[in-house]
Amino acid sequence: MTNSSGIVVEGVSKTYRRGGRRALDGVSLTVQPGEALGIIGPNGAGKTTLFGCLLGHLRPDAGSISLDGRPPDAIGVKAEIGFLPERLLFDRWMTGARFLRHHHALANLPAATRTADVLRAFERVGLDAEAGRRQVKTYSRGMLQRIGLAQALLARPRYLFLDEPASGVDPAGVLLFRRILSDARAEGTTVILNSHQLEQVERICDRVAFLRAGRVESVEVLHAGAAVKRHLRVRFAAGAPLDGESLARAAAAGGATVITTLPGEAVCAVADDTGATRLLASLLEAGLPVVEARSEESRLERLFLEPSGPSAAPPGGAS
């Protein structure tokens, strides 16, 4: 029976028979309808295996997965998902247009709108008509990503699974992808994004699940009211006297907190870009001789850098 419970993953484990590697170990997650969840983690963390299970390509050894109360391999679910794989293994003998027509037909979309829908899909991802006439095997990595995204969006999916969507795409393409995903989200599409491009994950996702060794180590809220803190390293004029108390007071007045102070430097936590501007204004107003301010790594980058991951949430207990 269909409901709108979103994606529910409960205690999913998966061990590959070959090599006996445990790729997923009791993963639990929920994704609300219309939400964007990023899945990040180091190589071998189990991200792509989790994708395989979510798409019904792999059968978990234990646990369960449901999309709106239905198993992921149900035909009804398949009609509502779009998928862009990391490895772009498409029908290489087809032309670009034939490839999209093929998926349009497989998605059971009306034949009457096929030509128009395919043309629109090409325009949407910034490919021209000439690309539609070329065989997919002649496409560059960036073009493959674009046509892959076009096929994923063809059927206006309720669930969009994207595995490294902007890999190999030029900066203009990255911006285009971001806009397309924003549009899809505005239409209520639930997005599951697996990406190593952390800036992109931060910009697109509401939450991010950090996977390590097949377990969910934490789920971080990125948007929805939660502040995305970042660290700003501020350098002061050489030899200038730096009073820790006045520095802390000035930082607090700018809505920031001092994390550490070093000779001639301080690292402050700010909420966002506006917070950084407020902090600098406040420091200058307090007469502190600021000569340089540099953004440190983002919170997601810090997740990667922490040796054993964050301790924000118990493993497997994320929601």
Partner: protein, 234 residues
């Protein structure tokens, strides 16, 4: 059956330069043979069998090795429909090519009844071997299905040789039985052209052919339904 999958597979097979070159050569030489023999023994050629091999080789194994079904299976297409659509498409291409020498012969030399029976027999041969290849291809990667059939053929030939040189009647009987079983399981066919010379078609032979084809289709569907699409490196 899914119309789009059928058409895409049909087109894919016709756009393969290697398959088309091999088929064209085979059909050309078969047609020459037909024209030279002027209808006599018109169905006693293996070209239906060979065309079945050419077009069905790797029908599932090559696809799964290439990773294309990862995307196809995110579409609302049941796996058994995927299997049967691809089977139907390779059968259709193989049968169309199988008919070319007969059509040539029909217009140039042979008598119509012989040609019609020969067409049907060779077509059934193509369909039969395509079904066997489908079943093997569902469980073997790439073109290993053809390798598997080659291995089976070698076993059959070894049994033939053993049967021919055996001094012991039991060994000869066992070898004969092996040849016959391998033939029934791995090269399903029906001899129809004999009907042109007054021989009746055995219902047992029809049942054996049909059940073998169905057996391999079921094997293919079961294997593909169970198949997990590995991502290997994560």
């Amino acid at each position: 059956m899914n119309r789009e999958l059928f058409l895409a597979t049909f087109e894919q097979r016709l756009k393969s330069p290697v398959r088309m070159t091999l088929s064209a050569m085979l059909v050309f030489f078969t047609a020459i043979g037909f024209l030279m023999t002027r209808g006599a023994g018109i169905a006693n050629t293996p070209h239906g069998y060979l065309l079945g091999l050419i077009f069905a080789g790797g029908v599932l194994g090559q696809e799964f090795s290439s990773g294309v079904p990862h995307l196809t299976f995110t579409r609302p297409v049941p796996r058994h429909v995927y299997v049967l659509s691809r089977w139907a498409a390779v059968c259709a291409v193989a049968v169309l090519w199988t008919l070319v020498p007969f059509v040539t012969a029909f217009f140039m030399t042979a008598t119509a009844p012989t040609v019609l029976l020969g067409m049907l027999e060779a077509s059934l041969q193509a369909v039969g071997i395509a079904s066997v290849v489908l079943g093997l291809s569902a469980g073997l990667p790439g073109l290993a299905d053809l390798g598997g059939l080659a291995a089976v053929g070698m076993i059959q030939n070894a049994a033939r040789v053993a049967g021919a040189i055996a001094q012991d009647a039991k060994v000869a009987a066992f070898a004969g039985m092996t040849v016959s079983y391998v033939d029934a399981w791995f090269a399903p066919h029906l001899v129809l052209s004999a009907a042109a010379y007054g021989q009746a078609l055995s219902p047992h032979a029809v049942f054996q052919y049909a059940s073998t084809v169905v057996f391999w289709l079921v094997v293919a569907v079961l294997l593909v339904n169970r198949k997990q699409l590995s991502y290997a490196t994560d």
